[in-house]
Symmetry: C2
Subunit: 131 residues, 2 copies
DNA sequence: CAGAATCCGTTACGATACTG
DNA sequence: CAGTATCGTAACGGATTCTG
């Protein structure tokens, strides 16, 4: 359990308070879900279709977490074959820019990253050969 | 928006090419490490002190991952009691703005998030009482 | 339709001890 | 100092089945 009552010795001890927030909001699926919900409200099933590889379990977990943190909102629509809509909240909207920043960065730098990986892997292989 | 009309079944669904990159770079410790290395180069031990709760094992893993993706660089300095320095690369610097965007957002919105959580938890509790 | 419940393998992570 | 090696546990995530 990461510290709570820390505030230990040296001055620059920055065990960030928002670490735990980021864990909740930058997890495996949140960015993708958020990215979609920023465009338009969506239903559970729609999200499943858009983000193919997510299982209902994980999707539920992600949505609940985002809801709990006030980033998205769960709205029950009809009452027949129950319909539920998820939509971004005002607070959630403030998160849009940062998220897009990250996603854009990833898209743009992808090629360079690939290159770096290849270099690294080659070097590692070679080093192994030395043994 | 990356889409998906293609494969139907449950195999290697690549619904997002940078998903995997983000997993490597937005993991539990990377943001903190990055945030520090953006300020100045640091050594292994220094990072351990700054980020109190990280174990050597996890720190090594984080550093290796970032290095492999070309975000940081590992520099062996002396040769006596070996000294190693980690520093951000040019590619890594392009990541700085987005990362800070996220961190800033987290810091700013923290209070509202807390509020949202309390509301959510209270509601959940109450709903439970109904049973 | 929207999810809850189960089972279960993989991985992540912490704690600790050890080495060049 | 800068890690590696090992071990054990807890959490995550996937697949599947069930239900109001």
């Amino acid at each position: 359990m990461p510290n709570t009552t820390a505030s230990a010795s040296h001055r620059f001890t920055v065990d960030f308070p928002h670490r735990e927030l980021l864990d909740q909001v930058l997890d495996k699926w949140s960015l993708l879900v958020l990215n979609e919900l920023c465009e338009r409200p969506l239903r559970f099933g729609e999200l499943r279709q858009i983000i193919e590889s997510v299982t209902p379990k994980s999707l539920t977990a992600t949505l609940r977490r985002l809801e709990r943190n006030g980033i998205i909102e769960r709205v029950v629509l009809g009452t027949r074959p129950v319909a539920v809509q998820y939509r971004i909240t005002p607070l959630g909207k403030t998160f849009r820019a940062p998220v897009e920043g990250i996603l854009q960065w990833a898209a743009e730098q992808m090629p360079l990253i690939e290159q770096a990986r290849e270099r690294f892997d080659e070097d590692a292989e070679e080093a192994e050969r030395q043994l």
